[in-house]
């Protein structure tokens, strides 16, 4: 029986096989651009995009606009996220609060927040406030629902055990209810991060004078397609980065959970 060989083969295969197709696509794309099958004004070649990256990095515009966009996203996230989190905690812990508040929240949730853009522009103008409001609205509902659900799904047997062992209300909350709800809360966090970026991208198409959306619009007006493609990629990168941070948090705070532990 060949027991040693297959293992080594799989490790080597794992390292290059997942990357074969993306590399081929990149190569085909570059070739198409070079041969003129793909006009430069439709889609610039990968090398041209890379050149644009280096240029914008060197003159500082990329970092400046990326910083503005990220700041908008995070502030909106903090505002919407903390309100939603506190509301979710409140409704989860106190059934009387849930009876009064939850229906209203559910009704608001069913309004697609991006559809409210015309209203938001009329209310808040085209400045920062409207963008922050949209992001806050977008991130709120996944966080609210998952926090609320997380708290309600805590094993009541554990809460009963806590009471028998003399834990007071505050200890019950911090040692049993909150840790029990944490997997759900972090899931809500990951969902809301995705929505945060999408909302930001759309919000930045409303007139702006800074940020990646502005950079893309400005470049489009001058037909700098390489910068446009670059902006798309930067958005993707920022999204991936935030998801990666959320994953790290999950792995740190949830290492007791069988889904995340390294042990079988």
């Amino acid at each position: 029986m060949k027991t040693g060989k297959p293992k080594r083969l799989t490790a080597a295969a794992n390292s290059w096989q997942p990357w074969l197709i993306p590399v081929l696509i990149l190569a085909a794309w570059q070739l198409a651009g070079l041969e003129g099958w793909l006009a430069g004004r439709i889609l610039p070649t990968p090398l041209e995009v890379a050149a644009a990256l280096i240029d914008t990095l060197r003159d500082g515009t990329l970092l400046e606009h990326a910083y503005v966009s990220t700041k908008r996203a995070l502030i909106g996230f903090l505002i919407g996220g903390s309100i939603a989190f506190l509301l979710g905690l409140l409704n989860g812990v106190l059934p009387v609060a849930e009876r009064f508040i939850d229906t209203t929240v559910q009704m608001l949730r069913n309004i697609p927040h991006l559809a409210m853009i015309p209203l938001v522009i009329i209310w808040f103008g085209i400045g920062e406030t409207s963008k922050l409001f949209l992001v806050a609205l977008g991130v709120a509902f996944p966080i609210y629902i998952n926090t609320f659900h997380g708290i309600r799904s805590v094993d009541p047997g554990l809460i009963e055990m806590g009471k028998v062992y003399g834990l007071g209300k505050w200890s019950l909350f911090t040692q049993i209810i909150l840790p029990g709800a944490l997997p759900s809360i972090l899931l809500g966090l990951r969902f809301s991060l995705g929505i945060m970026w999408i909302t930001l991208i759309v919000a930045e198409t409303i007139a702006a004078d800074a940020g990646i959306g502005y950079m893309a619009t400005h470049a489009r007006e001058f037909m700098h397609m390489d910068v446009v493609v670059l902006c798309v990629l930067i958005y993707a990168l920022l999204g991936k980065l935030s998801d990666w941070i959320a994953k790290i948090l999950e792995r740190r705070w949830l290492k007791w959970h069988h889904n995340f532990s390294a042990q079988p």
């Binding site: 047997g157 554990l158 009963e160 055990m161 806590g162 009471k163 028998v164 062992y165 003399g166 834990l167 040692q175 049993i176 840790p179 029990g180 944490l182 290492k255 007791w256 959970h257 069988h258 532990s261 042990q263």
Partner: protein, 265 residues
């Protein structure tokens, strides 16, 4: 040979338990009615019965997790109001907090969260080397042992066991029974064990109480020496209790059939 009258030794720590005319109704269903039971300090009493007979409900009333609709329960001199001090419960599922390591779960049982006390309790149940493990990596038997350590770490004077060994395999169950008996003899708390396993009841208890349809049907003192071995005396007790448990219900079913036949003529 040791006698089973542990409660007669001096310096006993356990609390006496007094249950008078206790009844419990859930909406329209009467689960318990007219239950009278007195348990001496340091005694081990097993409450056996079929599923749904009310034995777990009775335990929950003693633990203060529920209130009786009639009657009163006193632990020591105090009536039970809310969850009493000095009383600990071991549930059928170990109810360990999955997000705390084993040692931190045991520390939950102490009032001062002292690590050394918790470690000592783990040593008593033979799991000191698993102190830093996560509960999800332990087997069912190991988890119940940790739960037992957690229950004992605060030196309770009344320990209530709600079918804690039901989910374990037969061999682990026997080991746990020995462990519980040893710790009970050492710490001399009052022990109330709810179980459907008659063999377990005869192994551990000074006295076995049968509950049938919400009422105490029968009581028997187990006059066997400890540690209990499965000799003919053991088998006699086991069979007598089983007969009472099973035949009681069988004859009433037979009566029902008779009645329905007679009235249909």
């Amino acid at each position: 040979m040791e006698t089973s009258r542990i409660s007669q030794l001096p310096g006993i720590r356990g609390l006496p338990l007094s249950i008078r005319e206790v009844g419990k109704r859930f909406g329209g269903t009467t689960v318990l009615k007219g239950v009278n039971l007195h348990i001496r300090e340091g005694e081990c009493v097993a409450i056996v019965g079929r599923s749904g007979c009310g034995k777990s409900t009775l335990l929950r009333l003693i633990a203060g997790l529920d209130q009786p609709t009639e009657g009163s329960i006193r632990i020591g001199a105090q009536p039970v109001r809310g969850i009493p001090q000095d009383v600990r419960v071991l549930f059928q599922d170990s109810r360990l907090l999955p997000w705390k390591r084993v040692i931190d779960n045991v520390r939950l049982g102490t009032s001062d969260r002292d690590r050394n006390t918790a470690l000592h309790a783990l040593e008593q149940v033979g799991l000191a080397e698993k102190a830093s493990a996560w509960p999800s990596t332990l087997s069912g038997g190991q988890r119940q042992r940790v739960a037992l350590a957690r229950a004992l770490v605060a030196k309770p004077r009344l320990l209530l066991l709600d079918e804690p060994l039901g989910a374990l395999d037969a061999l682990t169950r026997l080991e746990m029974q020995r462990l519980i008996e040893r710790l009970w003899q050492e710490f001399r708390f009052t022990l109330v064990l709810v179980t459907h396993d008659v063999s377990e009841a005869v192994t551990l208890a000074d006295r076995v109480v049968l509950i049938d349809q919400g009422n105490i049907d029968w009581e028997v003192n187990i006059s066997l020496a400890r540690p209990r071995i499965k000799d003919s005396g053991f088998a006699w007790f086991e069979q007598t209790i089983l007969d009472r448990l099973l035949n009681g219900t069988m004859s009433s079913a037979a009566e029902e059939r008779q009645r329905s036949v007679t009235f249909s003529i």
